[in-house]
């Protein structure tokens, strides 16, 4: 049996077995869950190579599975995150209800993502896409809060995307007579101009929903924040990347081949830039860590989409690199929030304060991930952002640079807010009992944060697969002279020379830190955060002076004109208008037999009037 099929079967059978093994014991269920995640990952990393291909034939369609360099790259994200978040999940779900339901959908969605990446034709792509959608939908409504609003919003937006994609798929089929992705690519240039624009546009709508591109993003904040955090790590880290994956295919193999593609590319890039800017502002406004990170995810996906959409080799590298990094640090952050939620029971940034001494490891993971998220050297986030700026400037997208810069500067605001809200500030009596999260939750977070450090210094670790993926799209081999293209590094010639800089920074960091930190630490004593200068007032035990409400109020006042207009509201009022319209059609059926008879007569008359046309 082919190994890809084997992995898929393992996932799907394993999901069902895991779901029902809860009847035996919770421990067995946990172990099975981990086995079902780890074994396919091991199989994948050892057994799958670019030559494995397998075909399942149906009368309607041929399902072709195989791996491309691009899907290998994305599989790295999915498989790695799935395993890490899996361990985290076991810790987080410990003692929760309906574990079977959760595990089932978790594994199903992972399997579906893997299926998407391994699909070489649109039918299996779409099937797995939809499995992923409803599995994630079922997890989004796991908590059962506001299901009618959030769940329906997510599902409707997904349905819009999926049906747009489906339409594109059947159009492709009608033109090429095949569902294979490679056939589409090879026959794309021969299509009519209308189809050349329509098909990518429809596909982009489909992918844009999952990648939370602007007018299609309205589901994301609610869905991200309502799912359990261990899944949101997957949701934002891996699942949204499926949209990116599709976009890469559309942009690189379709739109870059026709001159009209530039229009769509620019539109998407602009939408993405606006998405990034606006959602960053919204993230600043949030007081709930989950929602904050949700908006932040949308913004970060915006950068990735910009990189992919611009389409110069450099920007694609930037986009793909950021996609990986975003998977790493954003999952770590969601895990941090989940850990805090588990230990304190809330994610409200205005309530929880001063956990740094209670949960030091969690804080460390949060700190490193936040630094990566903010794009500050020497961590991984910076490398991606740097390449993005470079590529935007070199390709003369100057207004996009400004927008991206604006949003990434504004991102510092929420970065600080989340660190401050949970971990800094005064220690409160209410959280005095809080303990560090269990090790099974800590370890994945720490591994992820370490990888953001490592990838900042050694980006070539993932630049190699990125390069392979890009070469598979016919782009030039940039791995060797990647940095030549960027004017940054020509002092060191054509080798990858990020490391010396980063070493330099780290050296300075270590020297100064050791000098100041340890020197000061040995000479000073720790005093509690209640011992602060407050005009001589002695802070009582029940008093907490932490500044947490209305955190960026002045800033938000400054940007209020932008924030007043919400797409969400427009869409809702549109939907409401449509429903009212349907109320009108409903009245056609008024329940009166005579009316129905009149309808029949009118129908007869109309048919007779147009009877001549029936002759054809």
């Amino acid at each position: 049996m082919n190994i890809i099929i084997l992995i898929l079967i393992l996932f799907f059978l394993g999901a069902i077995i895991t779901a029902f093994s809860g009847k035996i014991s919770a421990l067995v269920q946990d172990i099975l869950f981990l086995i079902v995640l780890v074994v396919p990952a091991v199989l994948f990393f050892t057994g799958v190579d670019m030559n494995t291909e397998s075909i399942i034939t149906f009368s309607q369609a041929q399902l072709t599975f195989g791996m491309t360099p691009l899907s290998y790259y994305f599989s790295l994200i999915v498989m790695g995150l799935a395993v890490l978040a899996g361990f985290y999940t076991v810790g987080q779900m410990n003692g929760k209800k309906r574990k079977g339901y959760y595990y089932l959908n978790y594994i199903l969605s992972i399997g579906a993502m893997f299926g998407i990446l391994m699909s070489k034709d649109f039918i299996s792509f779409f099937i797995f896409w939809e499995i992923m959608t409803w599995a994630s939908y079922l997890i989004v409504i796991y908590n059962g809060k506001n299901v009618q609003k959030i769940g329906i919003k997510y599902f409707v937006m997904s349905a819009i995307g999926a049906y747009a994609m489906l339409m594109a798929i059947v159009l492709i089929h009608s033109i090429t007579g095949s569902f294979l992705i490679t056939d589409l690519i090879s026959e794309y240039t021969g299509m009519t101009q209308g189809m050349q624009l329509l098909i990518p546009a429809l596909l982009l709508i489909g992918f844009g929903v999952k990648a939370a591109l602007m007018p299609l993003h309205i589901w994301a904040p609610d869905a991200y924040s309502n799912a359990p955090m261990s899944y949101t790590a997957i949701f934002s880290g891996a699942l949204s990347k499926m949209g990116i994956y599709g976009m890469v295919i559309v942009f690189l193999s379709l739109l870059s081949k026709v001159p009209e593609g530039a229009l769509i590319r620019d539109i998407v890039a602009w939408l993405a830039a606006i998405t990034a800017a606006i959602s960053t502002l919204w993230a600043i406004k949030q007081d709930d860590a989950k929602r904050l990170l949700a908006y932040s995810s949308i913004g970060q996906l915006g950068y990735i989409i910009i990189g992919v959409a611009i389409g110069t080799p450099m920007s694609i590298i930037a986009g793909l690199f950021l996609a990986f990094m975003h998977g790493v640090f954003k999952s770590a952050l969601f895990m941090v929030v989940g850990a805090v939620e588990k230990q304190t029971g809330t994610t409200d940034l205005t309530e929880v304060t001063g956990l740094i001494r209670k949960m030091p490891w969690t804080f460390l993971a949060a700190l490193i991930s936040i630094i990566a998220l903010a794009g500050i050297p020497p961590l991984g986030g910076f490398v991606g952002k740097w390449m993005l700026y470079e590529s935007l400037i070199l390709s003369d997208h100057f207004m996009l640079v400004i927008l991206v810069f604006f949003s990434s500067t504004a991102a510092f605001l929420y970065c600080y807010k989340i660190l401050f809200g949970f971990f800094l500030g005064q220690e409160e009596k209410e959280w005095a009992h809080v303990k560090e999260a269990p090790a099974i939750m800590i370890v994945p977070m720490v591994i992820l944060s370490i990888s953001s450090i490592v990838l900042g210094t050694y980006p070539q670790l993932i630049l190699k697969p990125i390069n392979a993926a890009m070469m598979s799209f016919g782009l030039p081999d940039t791995y060797g002279n990647l940095w030549k293209e960027s004017i940054l590094f020509n002092k060191w010639g054509n080798q990858i020379a990020l490391a010396p800089i980063m070493y330099g920074i780290m050296l300075v960091f270590v020297i100064v830190t050791i000098f100041l930190f340890f020197r000061n630490r040995s000479r000073t004593r720790y005093v509690t955060t209640k011992d602060i200068s407050t005009s001589g007032e002695i802070i009582k035990e029940h008093e907490n002076l932490t500044f947490s409400r209305g955190f960026f109020q002045p800033f938000l006042r400054a940007v209020e004109p932008v924030m007043k207009r919400q797409i969400d509201k427009y869409m809702l009022s549109f939907a409401k208008g449509v429903e009212d319209l349907f109320e009108f059609t409903r009245r056609i059926y008024n329940g009166n037999g005579q009316t129905y008879a009149i309808y029949a007569m009118i129908f007869l008359i109309i048919l007779l009037m147009f009877g001549k046309n029936l002759l054809g």
Binding site: L394, V401, F406, L488, K491, T546
Partner: protein
């Protein structure tokens, strides 16, 4: 071995230069403010005395690891920025790590310090610190936009993100960029008002309002670290402006003259202005500076 020793010595020399110049400029600023207010003012070396006193003060308490690390972050960021910026043009002195001095790298590494400091300030538990930090971050969003617009205008025009390349361009043309794209200079200098955080943009550490904001729990050596990092930062910012708009400096005297003249702009603007409120400080940068930024970009793209 010798090379390493030399580069370490060079780094120390750069640091000392930046420290001395930055501190002296700070002293001059105090003197200027005093004179504008019809006072005699402290001596120019007053900042050195203050720094030395702070350094010699006992520092007995800290509020936790981040509090200890905050000033260290600030210092790291200042030193790294200093190591990267090309101090002198065509001179082997003071070229530490600067791999042609990438602008984007510089912008980011310069935000790293304040953010680290903000974390340190956060852990002290003093509400004033956090308020100051939020103000500072808000203001940063404000001034970064025109600042980046000005830089992007130049980067697009000359298709480079390197400071050294920009300096070379000015040398080849024989004309400073301030004359080639005056709008960019105006936008950048207006943005730098916010960057220096002098009045009217001193909303972060407003002493009478916030009890000096992020610094409010830091005394002694912490404050000394912050003060010297601030001086180094001031030097870095001035050098950057000089490099980008005034063709850099080929020797120290030229550098000092150019930076001093530039430094006087925010100082003079500050002495005659009261303090803004936060949203005013943010939206200030989205008015005229933004317009100049647009003009700069349009000018560099179409002319």
């Amino acid at each position: 071995m010798e090379g390493i020793l030399m580069s370490i010595l060079g780094a120390i020399a750069t640091f000392l230069l930046a420290f001395v110049v930055g501190m002296t400029y700070g002293g001059i600023r105090r003197k200027v403010i005093a004179r504008v207010q019809n006072r005699y003012g402290p001596p120019i070396y007053q900042n050195f005395i203050d720094a030395f006193k702070l350094f010699s003060k006992t520092t007995a308490v800290h509020h936790g690891a981040m509090h200890l690390l905050g000033p260290a972050f600030l210092m790291v960021s200042a030193v790294v920025a200093l190591m990267i910026i090309p101090v002198l043009r065509d001179n082997i002195w003071f070229t530490n790590l600067n791999f042609k001095g990438d602008l984007i790298f510089l912008i980011y590494i310069m935000t790293f310090g304040p953010l680290g400091m903000a974390l340190g300030a956060g852990q002290t538990g003093n509400p004033n610190s956090a308020i100051g930090v939020t103000r500072g971050l808000s203001q940063m969003v404000g001034f970064e936009i025109p600042w980046v617009m000005a830089l992007v205008a130049l980067m697009i025009k000359y298709n480079t993100t390197s400071v050294v390349d920009l300096m070379n361009v000015q040398n080849e043309v024989g004309q400073w960029l301030i004359f080639q794209n005056p709008f960019a200079f105006v936008a950048a200098i207006l943005a730098s008002l916010g960057m220096f955080r002098y009045a009217p943009f001193n909303i972060v550490g407003a002493p009478t309002e916030l009890a000096s904001g992020p610094a409010s729990e830091n005394g002694g050596k912490f404050l000394f670290t912050m003060m010297s990092a601030g001086s180094v930062f001031a030097f870095v910012k001035l050098t950057l402006l000089v490099d980008v708009f005034f063709g850099g400096a080929s020797n120290l005297i030229e550098l000092v003259i150019k930076t001093f003249l530039l430094y006087m702009i925010p100082v003079m603007y500050g002495v005659v202005n009261p303090r803004y409120r936060t949203e005013q400080a943010v939206t200030y940068f989205w008015g005229w500076p933004l317009l100049f930024g647009f003009l700069a970009i349009i000018y560099s793209v179409y002319f």
